[in-house]
Symmetry: C2
Subunit: 552 residues, 2 copies
Amino acid sequence: MPNGAQALMKTLVDAGIEVCFSNPGTSEMHFVAALDGEPKMRAVLALFEGVATGAADGYARMADKPAATLLHLGCGLGNGLANLHNARKGKSPIVNIVGDHATYHVKYDAQLQSDIETVACNVSPNFVRTSTSTESLCRDAADAITAARGLPGQVATLILPANVSWGEGGQPCVVPPQAEAPIADSTAIDAVAEAIRSSRKTALLLGGRALREPGLLAAARIAAHSGVVVFAETFPTRIERGAGLPAVERIAYLAELASLQLSEFDNLILVDAKAPVSFFAYPGKQSYLVPDGCTVHTLSTPEQDAAASLNGLADALGAGSTPPVLQPAGRPGRPKGKLTAEKVCRAVGELMPENSIVVDESITSGLLLNAMTAGAPRHDMITLTGGAIGQGLPSAVGAAVACPDRPVLALIGDGTAMYTNQALWTMARENLNVTSIIFNNASYSVLNIELERVGAEEAGEKAKSQLDLSGPVTNYALLAQSMGVHGIRVKTSEELLKALEYALDTPGPHLIEAVVPESLNGVKRKVLPWLLKTLPNIPRPLSKALKKKIAP
Amino acid sequence: MPNGAQALMKTLVDAGIEVCFSNPGTSEMHFVAALDGEPKMRAVLALFEGVATGAADGYARMADKPAATLLHLGCGLGNGLANLHNARKGKSPIVNIVGDHATYHVKYDAQLQSDIETVACNVSPNFVRTSTSTESLCRDAADAITAARGLPGQVATLILPANVSWGEGGQPCVVPPQAEAPIADSTAIDAVAEAIRSSRKTALLLGGRALREPGLLAAARIAAHSGVVVFAETFPTRIERGAGLPAVERIAYLAELASLQLSEFDNLILVDAKAPVSFFAYPGKQSYLVPDGCTVHTLSTPEQDAAASLNGLADALGAGSTPPVLQPAGRPGRPKGKLTAEKVCRAVGELMPENSIVVDESITSGLLLNAMTAGAPRHDMITLTGGAIGQGLPSAVGAAVACPDRPVLALIGDGTAMYTNQALWTMARENLNVTSIIFNNASYSVLNIELERVGAEEAGEKAKSQLDLSGPVTNYALLAQSMGVHGIRVKTSEELLKALEYALDTPGPHLIEAVVPESLNGVKRKVLPWLLKTLPNIPRPLSKALKKKIAP
């Protein structure tokens, strides 16, 4: 009869969970020992829990199924919390296993004792369970797996006391297959179809699973047939894009710009998405970005099959056979001369191979990334769903584990790269095909904008030093080398192109540190007009509002 | 009239809070802007929240007063949680300021929305408050400061919504002076005195504030007079030690060894300490380490003045004028040849200057640190109070900020160093006098022992790879250099001595990566007999139990 950990391991692999991103401690040693008995389980060691949880998120986004994590008590969970938050917001499925003291040890309040359930409920609002006996462990695990991989995906936290793990009499459990997600009900489809027919000023807002090819194609058919405008949510969990797929404009991060994008619509149709709100509050500005007088409809919820619902809508509108408009192939051309963030994005658009996975946590440096890669070969893009920075490098680890044959390009701001830099070690340990590009502008650049957007105008030198990452300027190439990753610092476009070509041709992890000026340097309070002038994929349907805004 | 943030800043500095360890985001921009108006507030930027919270802990331990933190919403708090846990367990005072969305923005469930209070209550069980208006903010802050710096010290969490911060009409508040801690009541003192008189087999267990000079001297007088044995808790928040102070044996981490230490006592007297329990549970082993038949008495609680209570006890016993036994000066001699962890500890004992602050997170590599530094010049030692690794480097930052004229020596295991390696950047930014020594044995060495202690005997290669940090071996010298810290890798005693002498002579931060074999390599299941043979400061009163144990 297996012990609890061994039975749990069997339950996991029988349910198709094949990867565990781990950072174990003493209380997880039986789970670790059980790894050897299960050849189907791959254990990927992280040197910080935020790497393990972010990797599980990235893995789930690309594998469309959960990985397990293995964290050490409440403090390990704390270290992993930010990236579990991102996973929660992105509806990524994760079976989040947190080791705990033996049940009888809890009352002694030993050094590492803390209230794990309370911390966990923040990221696992629907499933936190402490398994209290070896006998029931696998049923608890089965429930966690079922919860995690249902629609919408979620972080299900299973707390695993050490004695439940080491106890004899574990009973592996079969996890029932995942239920098929239902299509939106016909009342909702008919109501949305009616709204579209009644007005030309309708926008479809796609989120979550709607941003994969089937959903995008259905939405594009509807757009071509009925003249609606299709938007994607600001921070997609995963969006399929590039040449041959419909191009979709994303709602802007900047509330002022998002309001402009939405300003002319009478109807906003949500498809696995929520109505846009401002990322932060700003004095005197709206938090809710849907314009007054615009009616919000829901076609399908995250519990439903977005693509099937969109196809249902297309059929209801008679758009089922309308050909969708697809993005033509096109590369932006090789950049030249002294590097800027824009030129880095251009180089990526120029060189990225077919089937790349682009992890975008480039913040201000990536302003032109979408434009520069719009016509690149077909790829997936993963973004920062929950706003907790430090997601990009770990997410790249997970994506590369999920898709070993696809190149992963992680585009990361220098500030964000530091939070979970330990991901580089795991890339080296697992020899992952990840090329990380760090935009080193030596600044929390976005905060220089935000400082003024929130009206903190009295900011002086001392305040600004809190946003300044020069003195010392981190050397990310050295940082990568210290963890066994090939790292190089580049300052010109030519150096970058050479380094990127080499990285894409040479298996294993690479890091390219691109030394760039701040994208928004000197822009500050004029950020909106600047953006409107600069962004080449200017919101198509907004020309009037836009013209008025940038005319002076 | 100041805005909320400005009034808060004044309230903090007027209460003597002069340092803020920060990692801000958009919702904290007004607090950041208010820094310029308060020359008395020093802001120390961290590139990861765990660095900020660990630094606040280290600062509090050495400054004996709280610093403020500045964290960005629930995810920033999550990133800082592990080191706040360590602070909670060490009873360190911290005014933990967590920015939040504007109160009216919460309902929109924007990307970074999470339940901050729920996460915070884990580390701030007695004080979590969301300030709901600019008018009441400074009263809330005053309550937080009062809560933090009372006895026992604690982490008081003040959640600061952005609009409370930017609102006009802030009213700075005067914080009442800290109440004096009471002495143990005479009934407790008399009962303990009676217990000591009635038996020669009594141990005093000192924790918390009792481990400073006044408490140690009083305890040593009692020991010299009454023959009691004095122990220190396993992981002191701060212990004063070295030549000229009483030497105190610490209760061992290893439960088996701790049980031996305590095995012969009839009475255990707690002074600002709790009765020893095992760090983890192990199958078939006791969690509670006080032997059957030993009576536990409490002289003073963490709410009381430990030194005054010990002096009261000394007087009650007639020991007030008994001269205490003090540690004679003595250095262990310079190590020679190929480096081992023991030789690193020897070099530290040989070279550490008077008034050093030793931050010990060396785990297995530091087994002989206490022995090797026992007769070194007087110094303070800070340890890992809550078991959440990644505390050492941040704590060293805080200690160095609190005591700019004292050399800080941070002795850190390689596994633990990775969790919060971003602390190195802050050391460089602030030009702190910290010499970090990383014991690079390329292993989570302690887990190799724990794997067998918990009885996970079936562990094979795959399991062991989860404890193995080779492949790649991190280069900590390069890692330090990447963040602007002078870093060097050494492999011999001679190289180490030279590097350490240079570092101690040269202001600013240094990192010495000591490449060492695992201290316990090959020891495994025989760890207890091995320790008993090896530890030169073998528990003095245990000779009989010890002899029996190691005789075969």
